[in-house]
């Protein structure tokens, strides 16, 4: 049967996964190789992480796990040197900083991403909530006043390393937030072994680190989000995923960026509140900040609604990133 469907898909997160120097050699945006090799170096690293290291990490205290992370850091930095070199000019341009500072930010971002990966192992433990140490929570009244409207709240943020810690902490305090992800995050460095065997395991680990999530690939995803919003609950959206051929390209951090527009339809249908959230740090000490609700501009059509609201959403997340560039984990992803 012939049919024509509108060309966009819901929301949201392009969860970046396993970045290696091989990714850095891909054009920007990275292209998918027609026939990837059976096994790559990236696959072997993930095999180590997902099996022996994950099993050992169940028993190790956090300080030992972090110690292993610090020891491994120089190797990780060396491994990703091309990716970082590629990211540095972009960082310098987007953050209006010097090349030297940009290289430093690229290294810090990579290091924080690695600690996020270690935190995922801690969060997969049954008693992980006790290990989360929130050192500061600012603007909580902004969240409460948004919740008081009774129409649900979208927590708007970017791909920050501490998001998962923050969401787990909030859930433990009674503020569960549905998190939206890609089931199959793009990874241009993986081989066929990684794609077939390791990726499902990585998704399972992600799920065990935060089970309250939905996947954009599922046809029921938007209804799950709407259900949570109509129940007056929370949904966390990372709007800076770069995977949506859905609205005309926007400039984001100085680059053309394709933002998925499904979030705006959800906002239109649910009339929910949108509260910017920023989380920074590691599981051993992180901060959460909620900014005041965004003013949503009504519009007669879907396209006009996106046009009226998208710029302020992007500005909010851009400002979060520029203020805390070392905490954003997509610098080294492309």
């Amino acid at each position: 049967m012939e049919c024509r469907q509108k060309g966009y898909t819901v929301v949201v997160e392009a969860t970046p996964g396993m970045t290696t120097p091989e990714a850095s050699r891909a054009p920007f945006p990275a292209s998918t190789a027609a026939s990837p090799p059976w096994v790559t170096a990236n696959d072997l690293l993930w095999l180590l992480y997902l099996y022996p290291f994950r099993l050992v990490a169940r028993l190790l205290p956090r300080w030992i796990l972090y110690g292993i992370g610090r020891i491994s850091n120089p190797m990780v930095q060396f491994h990703a040197r091309r990716t970082k070199a590629k990211a540095a000019p972009w960082i310098a341009q987007a953050c209006h900083t010097t090349p030297a500072r940009a290289r430093q930010i690229a290294s810090q971002s990579l290091s924080n991403t690695m600690f996020r990966t270690l935190d995922a192992l801690l969060l997969a433990r049954p008693s992980s909530d006790k290990m989360l140490c929130c050192t500061a929570m600012d603007g909580f009244q902004n969240l409460e006043s948004a919740l008081a409207r009774g129409k649900g709240v979208i927590l708007l943020t970017g791909h920050f390393c501490a998001n998962r810690n923050a969401l787990r902490y909030l859930a433990a305090k009674g503020y569960r937030a549905l998190s939206v992800h890609n089931r199959v995050p793009p990874n241009h460095a993986e081989g066929r072994f990684g794609r077939l065997f390791l990726k499902p395991r990585a998704v399972a680990l992600q799920k065990s680190a935060n089970s309250d999530q939905v996947y954009v690939e599922d046809p029921g995803c938007s209804l799950s989000i709407l259900r949570r919003l109509r129940a007056g609950g929370l949904v966390c959206i990372q709007i800076d995923g770069r995977e949506g051929p859905t609205v005309p390209e926007q400039l984001f951090l100085g680059l053309p960026w394709r933002i998925r527009s499904g979030i705006f339809e959800l906002i239109r249908v649910s009339d929910c509140a949108v509260v910017p959230m920023l989380s920074l740090g590691h599981s051993s000490g992180f901060q959460i900040r909620f900014d005041p609700m965004l003013a949503i501009h009504p519009a007669s059509s879907r396209e006009a609604f996106v046009a009226a609201n998208l710029p302020q959403f992007l500005t909010v997340v851009e400002n979060q990133i520029v203020e805390n560039p070392q905490e954003w984990r997509l610098w080294n992803h492309f």
Partner: protein, 103 residues
């Protein structure tokens, strides 16, 4: 939810026609209502993505003047034409108790 499932075998044909029309319009399909059997699932012939489902539900809510209850906001609930029609019959009857239900 159980009450409308009991009537799912005899939902209003008018409601089913309206649902089919809304489905085609909201997804901008080049199909006719007859392409969708009363007995089949709506997504049997047309692949649905997440936003298409949301568009469909939003269009149904507008067409019937009701808001779906949270437990109905699942892909399983909105793909079956008969069950969907029975639910909307029940919701509109609840909203307009005096309204006659065409069969």
């Amino acid at each position: 939810m159980e009450s409308f499932l009991k009537d799912a075998a005899h939902p209003s044909r008018d409601t089913m026609d309206r649902i089919r029309r809304v489905f085609i319009q909201s997804l901008q399909l080049n199909l006719s209502e007859e392409d969708f059997s009363y007995e089949a699932n709506l997504d049997e012939s047309v692949g649905l993505d997440s936003v298409a489902v949301l568009d469909f539900v939003a269009a149904l809510e507008k067409e019937f003047g009701v808001e779906f209850e949270p437990e109905m906001l699942t892909i399983e609930s909105v793909r079956n034409l008969k069950e969907l029609a029975a639910y909307l019959d029940e919701r509109t009857a609840r909203r307009d108790p005096g309204a006659a239900q065409p069969r």
